[in-house]
């Protein structure tokens, strides 16, 4: 039955682990494998489109970024100018003390030192360093730098707002979506997979946006600005510096390609080691009592060593990227120093320009490396976005009808020729009709897969029927809003879902407007009160997600109290299959019958003993009611019910 396809915890862990490996891949130095967006372009555009409501801020970010990059890039050029001023003043002090600049050049040419003569002729000489002009230039540089920094901060500040607001909106959209999806979506989708979309993927998107947006923007702009300045100063040197780009890219790519299989190997081995660890630790007691500790240690040693072998290789190769990039940078530096030095000596370039150039070339490689590393992050972020968009695009539950429920509420339920199936080619319920009179207890029995839980799904309109109709007090349930319908029905399921919060709040979930008295009364009527008193914090005890501080029976009691507080006309009880401990079991049964009093109730029973006094027993097989009647009439009929009853009787009798 579709409603019982709850993914096993193991499955969920698998998915989560796979996810966790994803974003974490960045930490390992290489992006993750096999997590690529299938349609990168459209998904990336759509992700950017999510920022639309903040577009004014986004434009401001763009403007600030451009201004700040240009200002910052201006700095080295100004500092170079200041160096030239100092150099000119210094040389001038020497040269001009003995005559004019031209005399000095002539003198040098006469001695054959043409290089120095050329250098001298290209310089602007002053008599000693003029610290007024140098000071002005440096002041200007200071203003430019500080201005650039302020704008850069403003850019980061606004961008952060944009990104956070965007992520917030996406989270809200996802949450809205969760409430708008039909239940079939939840039943069809493996739960771990869905959870991972709404948690891990969104987190990944948030991280990607935060890290890439600002860096990518400033990196691209910086490269453009720095490159322009470099070309402006010396086209020749700019070309030399540019040569290093493809070199570093090729080298980086080579290393990445080398490290990829190593990383895959490392992940595989990590997975194997971790699952061995998980198994040994979880089954600790068994490993011990079956005397398998030595064996477990052996396997561990082997896997651990294998992981070491593959991981140090992977780390080493990926660790090479940095030194190589640094080397390429240094190579650049050396070439610029030599070629630049030669050109300065020849007088075709100023000393300040080469100093500026060196600074530019250092600024140039850094954004390149960061763009390269962004690429992987971006890939995984967009892949996550794609999965979230897929969720957001899933068809929603059809809109509600706005009709009104019956004004007279008795709790009479009628199925008229109802047919339903989860999948079109596998019919489940065919032409089913039944009537539950107000106040009656209707018990449904039958083997697993007979369609018992499906009946609940249909009454609650978790699923809509395909033909026939279901009425509540004479009104077709499809003609009223789902909330109005569900508001009249109380439900206690096998799956004792409680949220993380106090016991009191969990009971109050049944009716948020309930007074403290009503909550206490509900707790007393359903025996919650009894065990609550033995808890250190009483009603304020926090039920944790795993529910480990309450036994399964106690959890069941809380869900019964919740339904009790809701005080519905109609009740649906899905009995727990697994045996809770004996005493609580008794309490659960009492609590359930307290809840049933004076209400129309549907009880899905697993033990025949609980339903002996039901007003109507429906025996279901293969989606159809094969028998109906009371306990005694059905026993007399000696049909399916009687056989079921005998089976349980026989089992117990062997004991």
């Amino acid at each position: 039955m579709a409603s019982t396809t709850v993914s096993s915890p193991g499955q969920l862990k698998e998915t989560e682990r796979a996810q966790a490996n994803g974003p974490g891949g960045g930490r390992w130095g290489v992006g993750m494998v096999g997590q690529k967006a299938s349609a990168f372009g459209p998904s990336a555009r759509r992700l950017i489109g999510q920022m639309r409501p903040d577009r004014l801020k986004a434009y401001a970010v763009l403007g600030f970024a451009v201004c700040s990059v240009i200002l910052t890039a201006l700095g080295p050029k100004i500092l170079g100018h200041a160096t030239d001023l100092i150099f000119g003043g210094l040389t001038g002090k020497e040269v001009l003390a003995h005559g004019t600049k031209q005399q000095a050049i002539d003198a040098l040419n006469a001695t054959g030192n043409h290089t120095k003569a050329q250098l001298l002729s290209s310089m602007h000489l002053t008599r000693g360093v003029n610290f007024d002009t140098v000071g002005m230039a440096l002041l200007f540089a200071l203003v430019v730098y500080v201005g650039g920094a302020v704008l850069s901060f403003a850019q980061g500040y606004l961008l952060n707002d944009v990104v956070q607001n965007t992520v917030k909106r996406m989270r809200a959209d996802v949450e809205d979506k969760v409430n708008a999806l039909p239940l079939s979506y939840f039943d069809r989708q493996p739960r771990g997979e869905l959870l991972s979309r709404v948690t891990n993927d969104i987190d990944n998107i948030s991280q990607t946006l935060q890290q890439t947006m600002s860096q990518l923007l400033s990196s691209v702009l910086t490269i453009a600005a720095v490159l322009s300045f470099m070309v402006w100063i010396s086209p020749l040197l700019a070309v030399i510096a540019l040569v290093s780009v493809p070199i570093s890219m090729v080298l980086g790519h080579r290393v990445m390609r080398r490290s990829q299989p190593l990383f895959i190997d490392q992940w595989r081995r990590t997975g194997r080691l971790n699952s061995h660890i998980e198994e040994t630790f979880t089954g600790h007691a068994l490993v011990k009592v079956f005397g398998k500790q030595h064996e477990a240690e052996e396997v561990f040693e082997r896997e651990n060593e294998a992981l070491y072998q593959s991981s140090y290789g992977a780390q080493f190769v990926s660790g090479l990227v940095r030194p190589i990039m640094m080397f390429v940078g240094n190579l650049n530096y050396v070439i610029i120093a030599v070629v630049g030095g030669l050109r300065v000596a020849q007088g075709s370039m100023s000393l300040g320009d080469i100093q500026a150039f060196i600074q530019y070339s250092r600024q140039f490689t850094q954004p390149l490396t960061s763009i390269a590393s962004m690429a992987n992050l971006l890939q995984s972020g967009v892949a996550s976005a794609e999965r979230v968009f897929e969720l957001l695009d899933a068809p929603e539950e059809p809109a509600d009808d706005t009709g009104n429920p019956a004004t007279e509420r008795h709790g009479e339920v009628r199925f008229e020729h109802v047919s339903f199936s989860y999948a079109p080619d596998i019919p489940l319920i065919k032409d089913l009709s039944l009537v539950a009179e107000p106040g009656q207890t209707v018990a449904i029995v039958g083997p697993t897969g007979a369609g018992k839980t499906t009946l609940v799904n249909l009454i609650m309109r978790f699923y809509d029927i395909q033909s026939g109709r279901i009425t509540l007090d004479g009104v077709d349930i499809t003609s009223m809003p789902r909330s109005a319908l569900r508001g009249q029905i109380g439900m206690v399921l096998q799956d004792t879902w409680l949220f993380e919060g106090t016991i009191r709040d969990n009971i109050a979930y049944g009716n948020p407007d309930a007074t403290e008295q009503q909550i206490l009364a509900a707790a007393r009527a359903t025996f919650v009160d009894r065990f609550v008193h033995s808890l250190p914090d009483g009603y304020a005890t926090i039920v944790d997600e795993e529910g480990s501080n309450l036994s399964s029976g106690e959890r069941q009691l809380v869900t019964i109290a919740r339904a009790f507080l809701a005080d519905p006309e109609l009740l649906i009880l899905d009995e727990a299959t697994s045996s809770v401990d004996t005493r609580t079991e008794l309490l659960v049964q009492h609590a359930m019958s307290a809840l049933r009093t004076d209400r129309t109730s549907f009880v899905i029973a697993h033990r025949l003993s609980t339903i002996r006094d039901a007003d109507l027993i429906l025996v279901m097989e293969h989606g159809q009611i094969v028998e109906q009647g009371t306990h005694s009439s059905l026993l007399r009929a000696d049909g399916a019910y009687a056989r079921l009853y005998q089976a349980q009787f026989a089992a117990a009798a062997v004991a």
């Binding site: 910052t72 969760v178 959870l195 198994e279 600790h284 240690e297 100093q355 789902r482 089992a651």
Partner: protein, 577 residues
């Protein structure tokens, strides 16, 4: 803690660590030497017009750059090895320690927590060590080396480095100390938001049945807003980081030119040193920045290290005997003698003053409600716990004096949570008996009423079993766990709620089939269903850790009110019996 751990696990790789330090030192000094050489080029080549000098020194720079990369690569190599070796050894340390733990320590930590410590926490420390070896050590070397070389180039300007480095460190420090708590809070709130979403999805039926969608959205909205608030705050500090670093570095550069200019004018400095100085300053400041960022990893790794050391330093409460007894004459007899067990620090013992004896051929059953101490009592036999008073003996020898392997080989345990290991049906059965033949396995499966479904599984005995046994149903898992114990043909069977996931009919069939097999063995059954234990030779009724009734079913029905209550509660459930 971090230091203790790193010192302990890096000790064997001392030479590698020294190699890393040496290599990084040479590499860093080489990197710093480049601007110095460039200064020489300017002063002695460019200014004097000596092109030969420029080319010669250019070659020297190239050589230095090569030295640098060779050192860096070698350092990365040793750092990767040392870090991964530390990870490997720390994992082995934890694994071994956990192997020695008793159920008490496992319960204390919790298996999931131990797994996290063994995997993620080790990973954290390992990455920190790797980062330290490749990047973090560079920062101090860069600083010291930079200052020395800067002094060598020109003594008078070194104070600039001395001033700008602390300013940068302080600025980053201020930002980081504000940012880190925000990030921690952010993580908590992310967890909160994710928890709410998870609850909405797992509880979707309940949420819709009670028409609480709007409240859920409201709850989510609050959490989402809280998360966004703190993310915005953290992000703003983050946004301040880069401009701050740049502004400090650039003001430093301006200062170099201003003060350097004066010194040149006064004749204390050469013009080439100016350019060199600018390079130094940037290089030094960038590496300091890098180093400071790396320090952000330390708190996280320190927490991990603490969690690892906690495991390493926890001693097991169940120690193997110093002089073990290897053989007992009568391995089937189990005796409890005024047994008490209490968790350390608990004021009430879990069980107290329990005495009974079970001999081969006998079935002793323990019944009582959850928390009565039934499972704990059974766990005392294989020494998953040790008694805190009294004694448990097997074959007349105190279990604490028995050789663990000898003790365990006498037992067949079927635990409450039927846990299977990943592998095949056969590999799981061989867990019980390493050399079990196919016939033996099928026989055990027949007894456990598992033969039919195993036959139906594709592969039969070789059918895959996933980790924990999640690919078979709870009832099937339990039956396979029974078969695993049966195939051992042990002297003592311990059934701990081993029939709970079976329906009444299967429960009865399994017990009927077990009868002939266990004829000469001692059977201990923990159960909550009366039907499971009604024909045991001795039934002990436990309540709050004490035996409140003992005897056969019939006798207890007359004498023990607790037993009567239990029977009554189940009769209403299983009245047909």
């Amino acid at each position: 803690m971090l230091l203790t751990l790193v010192r302990r696990y890096l000790a064997p790789y001392r030479t590698w660590v020294l190699a890393i330090l040496g290599l990084q030192f040479v590499g860093t000094v080489a990197a710093l030497y480049l601007p110095s050489l460039n200064a020489d080029i300017i002063d002695n080549g460019v200014i004097t017009g000596d092109t030969g000098y420029i080319v010669r020194y250019g070659g020297l720079m190239l050589a230095v750059a090569c030295v640098q990369i060779v050192c860096s690569i070698a350092a990365v190599f040793y750092a990767s090895r040392a870090a991964m070796a530390l990870g490997r050894d720390a994992r082995a340390g934890i694994f071994h320690q956990v192997g020695s733990f008793s159920a008490r320590e496992i319960q204390h930590f919790g298996a999931p927590s131990l797994i996290t410590r063994e995997t993620n926490d080790v990973q954290q420390v390992q990455m920190l060590v790797l980062m330290s070896g490749t990047l973090m050590v560079m920062a101090p070397i860069m600083m010291v080396g930079g200052i020395i070389l800067a002094m060598h180039v020109n003594l008078g300007l070194s104070w600039l480095i001395g001033v700008s480095v602390p300013i940068l460190v302080a600025a980053i420090g201020v930002i980081v100390t504000r940012m880190v708590p925000s990030f921690q809070l952010m993580q908590e709130r992310i967890d909160e938001v994710n928890r709410l979403l998870r609850e909405q999805i797992t509880g979707v039926r309940v949420v819709r049945a009670f028409v609480r969608e709007r409240q859920e959205t409201q709850r989510f909205h609050v959490a989402n807003t809280d998360l966004t608030d703190v993310s915005v705050r953290a992000g703003r500090w983050m946004a301040a980081m880069f401009p701050t670093v740049m502004v400090v570095a650039n003001i430093g550069g301006v200062a170099v030119l201003w003060f350097g200019g004066h010194r040149i004018d006064e004749g204390h400095m050469q013009i080439g040193a100016l350019t060199a100085y600018l390079s130094y300053l940037m290089q030094i400041l960038m590496s300091v920045m890098m180093g400071t960022f790396m320090f952000m990893m330390i708190p996280r790794a320190a927490v991990s290290a603490g969690r690892i050391m906690e495991v390493i330093e926890t001693d097991t409460s169940v120690r193997p005997p110093a002089e073990p007894v290897y053989e007992v004459t009568d391995p089937g007899t189990v005796r409890f003698d005024h047994v008490e067990f209490a968790y350390p620090g608990a004021d009430v013992p879990v069980v107290r003053d329990v005495s009974f004896e079970a001999r081969p051929g006998q079935t002793v059953a323990l019944i009582g409600s959850t928390g009565a101490g039934k499972s704990t009592l059974v766990s005392l036999i294989p020494r998953l716990f040790d008694v805190t008073a009294g004694a448990v003996s097997v074959g007349g020898v105190d279990v604490r004096r028995l050789d663990p392997d000898a003790l365990w080989s006498a037992l067949g345990v079927i635990p409450q949570k039927a846990f299977l290991f990943s592998g095949t049906v056969a590999s799981n059965l061989r867990y019980g008996k390493g050399d079990a033949s196919e016939e033996e396995m099928w026989a055990a499966l027949e007894i456990a009423q598992a033969a039919d479904f195993v036959r139906a599984m594709s592969g039969g005995l070789d059918a895959r079993i996933s980790q924990g046994g999640t690919n078979v149903s709870g009832g099937q898992r339990q039956r396979l766990a029974i078969a695993r114990a049966v195939v051992r043909r042990p002297h003592i069977y311990l059934f701990d709620e081993a029939f709970s996931a079976l329906d009444l009919a299967t429960d009865a069939r399994v017990r009927a089939a077990l009868k002939p097999v266990t004829r000469d063995a001692t059977v201990l059954i923990v159960a909550s269903r009366v039907s499971t234990i009604r024909d045991a030779d001795l039934i002990l009724v436990l309540e709050d850790g004490e035996v409140v009734g003992r005897g056969t079913h019939e006798r207890l029905l007359e004498t023990c009110t607790t037993y009567q209550e239990i029977v009554e509660s189940q009769l209403s459930a299983d009245e047909a019996a």
